[in-house]
Amino acid sequence: MIGSGVIAMLWNATLETLRMVTASTVLATLLGLPLGILLTTTAPRHVLEQPVLHRLCSGVVNTLRSVPFIILMVAIIPLTRLVVGTSIGTVAAIVPLTMAATPFFARLVDGALKEVDAGVIEAAESVGASPLQIVYKVLIPEALPALVLAVTLTAVNLVGYSAMAGSIGGGGLGDLAIRYGYQRFRGDIMLATVVILVILVQGTQMMGDTIARRLYHRK
């Protein structure tokens, strides 16, 4: 049965997961947003057309996205050690999580910004907007609902990735599920972690949807 000790363990693991997901979502958003903007605006016929830079950004994003997370996690251990001093624990897990989520989020940003009507960009150009003004005053505000959904999707993905990070000592719900649920045959703990993960994902998605809907002013 699930006693108070197990509940404390589940609670701690949940907090660890939340910490990992929140920190890496924030970092991936901060790093991925400029990268995504660069991807969109340096494309041919866009406001900062730069073919070489565009291909470079696109190449970096594609390369990082093609590495499976479990391998990325192991492969960048030296970098993780350099940044946080250790490769084990919740804080250490944030490095590979951010590394995986940033190019993913950048692609989502790229997609969201590409959806902004070319006519609206043209209208802004026609009243004398500079490329930077178009980014800050047109692209981002117009794509804001889609950007919120992109952050949500990234956070939801990170809940899943964080469980994987648990398997190499990242802590959190994934770690708990592997060590107790799997290796010690505690089906009840396994089930409890899954239920908590489902609730986390549901909650995140609902929050994202609500905010996006509030920001959406079209018919």
Partner: protein, 335 residues
């Protein structure tokens, strides 16, 4: 105000499109100038070249004494602030309210808030949207959205307004009210307006002068009334075909060798004169009216009649002279 000198523009591709083939054009300050033509004629490229949304391959485009295609990006942005533009699909920012959309150009040039507030309120009044300032574009009708577009285009007090098929997405009633607004703006603000359209009635309703465009070439440039009544080029005939068309072969007429079929065109005040009844009394001829219409070209009344005259050669000749003396244009269609 605007001068095109031998402007060429080609869109490369599998099948290259020659959008502009040597355009020479000048548009005077304060006039409403229309470019009409079928889709694919190059009208849109032409108007977009004026504010360099499209860069010509060669030639010169002068706007208010400035050679537009020589400007660096920064100077071009300044020049664009003196040129407003409105679009077929309005292109409003959906994340901003009506107020914020109109304020957008003023915010770009970092005007103080109080000045923006006053200017936006003035513009909202001009376009008749004072009660919608805090609505989002998604809550407006097409006509209202275009009014927001017009207010935004006028925000930085331009000298020139470009209208890219501005009424093509609107229903006829809304089109009329938007055109009336453009006419008012032209008169009150002394703004030069260039518009492109495939709708004849837009040209007829508000333009002073117009050009007929086809396959990247301007076929005819002149006062609207001349294009509608005296056009000679094939392109204008094709464009006007549906507008001034009369089913000449289906008209009932008297099969009589003594009859002459004439097309009479009345321009200006003559369109209101009882000229036909005077003709009958003065020249003693019989007149059979087959087809007629009375219209306005901007503010000029314009009428057209297809008539058959019955009478001797001398009577018909005299009738023709009478009509021409009264400023009616007579064209003999067949004898």
């Amino acid at each position: 105000m605007i001068t095109f000198k031998n402007v060429h523009k080609t869109f490369p591709g599998k099948t290259a499109v020659y959008a502009l083939r040597g355009i020479d054009l000048s548009i005077a300050a304060g006039e409403i100038f229309g470019v009409m033509g079928p889709s694919g004629a190059g009208k849109s490229t032409l108007i977009r070249c004026i504010n360099m949304l499209e860069r010509p391959d060669s030639g010169e485009i002068w706007v208010d004494g400035v050679l537009m295609n020589s400007l660096n990006p920064k100077d071009l942005r300044e020049a664009r602030k003196k040129t407003g533009m409105i679009f077929q699909h309005f292109n409003l920012l959906h994340s901003r309210t009506v107020y914020e959309n109109i304020a957008f150009p003023l915010q770009l040039s970092r005007q103080p808030g109080a000045k923006i507030l006053a200017r936006v309120n003035d513009l909202a009044e001009l376009v008749g949207l004072t009660d919608k300032l805090h609505n989002y574009p998604g809550q407006l009708s097409g006509g209202q959205m275009q009014r927001v577009g017009i207010a935004r285009a006028l925000a930085s007090e331009p000298k020139l307004l470009l209208c890219d098929e501005a009424t093509s997405a609107l229903d006829p009633d809304t089109t009329t009210s938007v055109l009336r607004l453009l006419k008012t703006i032209n008169e009150v603000l002394k703004l030069t307006i260039v518009l492109i359209t495939h709708q004849m009635d837009v040209i007829q309703g508000i333009c002073d002068r117009a050009a007929v465009m086809e396959n990247g070439v301007l076929h005819e440039v002149g006062p609207v009334i001349d294009i509608f009544t005296r056009s000679t080029s094939r392109a204008s005939q094709r464009m006007l075909g549906s507008f001034l068309n009369y089913p000449i072969d289906q008209l009932p007429r008297l099969e009589d060798p003594d009859h002459v079929l004439l097309r009479l065109t009345f321009i200006g005040a003559e369109a209101h004169q009882p000229i036909i009844s005077q003709l009958i009394r003065t020249c003693q001829v019989d007149v059979n009216i087959l087809y007629g219409r009375l219209d306005h070209m901007k503010n000029t009344p314009f009428g057209m009649l297809l008539v058959q005259l019955k009478g001797s050669r001398e009577q018909v000749a005299e009738a023709t002279r009478f009509l021409e003396k009264n400023q009616v244009e007579v064209e003999v269609i067949d004898r």
